[in-house]
Amino acid sequence: MKSTCAGIITFFMLMATAPLLRAEELLQVSPFPDGVSIGTFYSGTKIAISGTLPADSDVVIRMTGEAAPLRMKKKGKVFGLLWMNRDTVTFDSVPKAFLLHTPPNLEDVFKTRQKDSPVWQLGLMALEEKITVSPDPGDGRTVVKELLKLKEKEGIYAVSGNVHYAPVSDGRKKFEAEITIPPKLSPGAYKVEAFLIQNGTIAAIDDHSLTVALESFPKILSLLAFDHGAMYGVLATLIAVVAGLLTGFFFKGGKGAH
């Protein structure tokens, strides 16, 4: 009796994991770097992602950062004339980054509101729906739209149709995409996900972690400036004085700008 029960349980467990195992076989992502170092001459970077998938499928790549509440100032007019920062608003769950890469044929899916489409749920418009604001600014979703506009301007939120496919062979095709990491992306933990799309649904997910960290000179400078502010200030002053003395010496004691 016991062995019959164990056999049934094992059968159902195998049945439950079968679609997942099948999905992993369907979408294969080649290894890519799991870290980005911000060194002295860093000005953003690119991460190439490639892999294979069934010929009749699509892949969408998404890089996101940890979501956290974000307090910001809404701009408003003072004296009905000058624009300045006024009311504070808090967005409940704002990812540090949101970079979505789609094949060109799927770009339109993310441009129109399709709440019941699982693929659309991966995009920026769906994120806009998910972020809540307190206190309620009473202007609909305008303030969230402004937030996304700001993030897009900074380059840390973006949607681009740069997933490209190579010719089909043996019922499979190769995909290639390049994630552009903007220089403004702050250090921290990020997630890179590849979504396999079949018949308008998400058939498989392959996710990887990615760490963005300061290194060498920027790391030392950041530690000094943020953890030892007074010492950093004195050092910055001394270096400027020495530089001033040296330039004065080389340029025969210029009268200096002030």
Binding site: S43, E146, Y232, G233, A240, G248, F251, G254, K255
Partner: protein, 310 residues
């Protein structure tokens, strides 16, 4: 186009093109050399336009001025153009004012209004100084023979108030008798502006010394530089400690660019007439002012701002 050489600034949280920053320092230094005034009031707005957060731009500019005014102070001291007594009193006022200004920025940063205050102060100061200089140079061009700035030509109400203040002492180097309170209060005023605007305050301090403290011109420049050097040392350390907004790498590149630019500027200035120079400088000041004013008046592209400068 691929930009050739970038540098990551962890304090500003962004990367900048070294050549662009160096070139900007050079242009400001060139103008500084041509017109014989400081470039601080131009440097901060230009850094903001480049995408550096305003609070980091202002604090790093103060750091740059420390270097720029060091060489100048020594050169003037050797020539005997520094009124140490006056400079020290202005300095005490400047340190108190600068410290207060940094604390004010800290509070306003929390409230999210620091950037607004920096912009409004710039518009007001640049507008006032630009218009004043423009008018003065126009008059000078018309009359051709410009009179020296009012040096006790008539006992005005201002002069009577100044003379009635307690603690009158003689400043031998400047040849004036004043209340000890005058340089303290005026130094404090410039110190507050210096912390808010991230400038040495030279373009405010020079008119203050000439018109309000009635000091002779040759002592004004040296004493102003002496006072500004120490005011900016204080502002830099305070900003680094309280607000973590000083980027000394940015300051060093600007300093190098401005020093080299200033050398060329001095040569160009020798070929131009004084009044033409003044009109050009006034126009430049007014252009910067109008740009900042337009930014305050026009609806921003994005109606949200970060709290704390960046």
């Amino acid at each position: 186009m691929t930009v050739p050489w970038h540098l990551y600034l962890p304090i500003a949280g962004n990367s900048v093109n070294i050549l662009l920053v160096f070139g900007m320092g050079g242009i400001v230094g060139l103008l500084s050399g041509i017109f014989g005034v400081g470039g601080g009031f131009l440097m901060t707005p230009l850094l903001i336009m480049m995408g550096i957060p305003p609070t980091v731009a202002a604090a790093s500019d103060s750091n740059q001025i420390v270097g720029a005014s060091t060489a100048g102070t020594i050169a003037h001291f050797r020539m005997g153009n520094v009124d140490i007594k006056m400079g020290l009193l202005l300095l005490v006022g400047g340190v108190i004012g600068g410290t207060g200004g940094v604390q004010l920025i800290k509070v306003l940063n929390r409230l999210g209004s620091a950037d607004f205050l920096i912009s409004v102060t710039y518009v007001l100061m640049l507008g006032f100084i630009g218009i004043y200089m423009f008018q003065e140079s126009l008059q000078a061009m018309r009359t051709r023979h410009k009179k020296p700035p009012a040096s006790a030509s008539k006992p005005s109400t201002y002069a009577r108030i100044v003379q009635s203040l307690p603690g009158q002492i003689m400043f031998d180097k400047s040849g004036v008798r004043l209340s000890i309170l005058m340089p303290l209060i005026l130094g404090g005023f410039v110190g507050v502006l210096s912390a808010i605007m991230g400038v040495g305050g030279g373009f405010i301090m020079v008119p203050v010394m000439v018109y309000l403290l009635r000091m002779p011109m040759h002592v004004v420049v040296g004493t102003s530089l002496f006072q500004i050097l120490f005011t900016c040392v204080n502002v830099t350390i305070m900003q680094a400690y309280s607000n973590h907004t000083v980027d000394f790498v940015l300051a060093l590149i600007l300093l190098l660019g401005s020093t080299i630019g200033a050398q060329f500027g001095v040569r160009i200035s020798k070929k131009l007439k004084a009044d033409q120079l003044k009109i050009l400088l006034a126009s430049l000041v007014l252009v910067v002012m109008v740009k900042m004013l337009v930014d305050l008046l026009l609806t921003p592209n994005i109606l949200l701002a970060y709290i704390g400068g960046h």
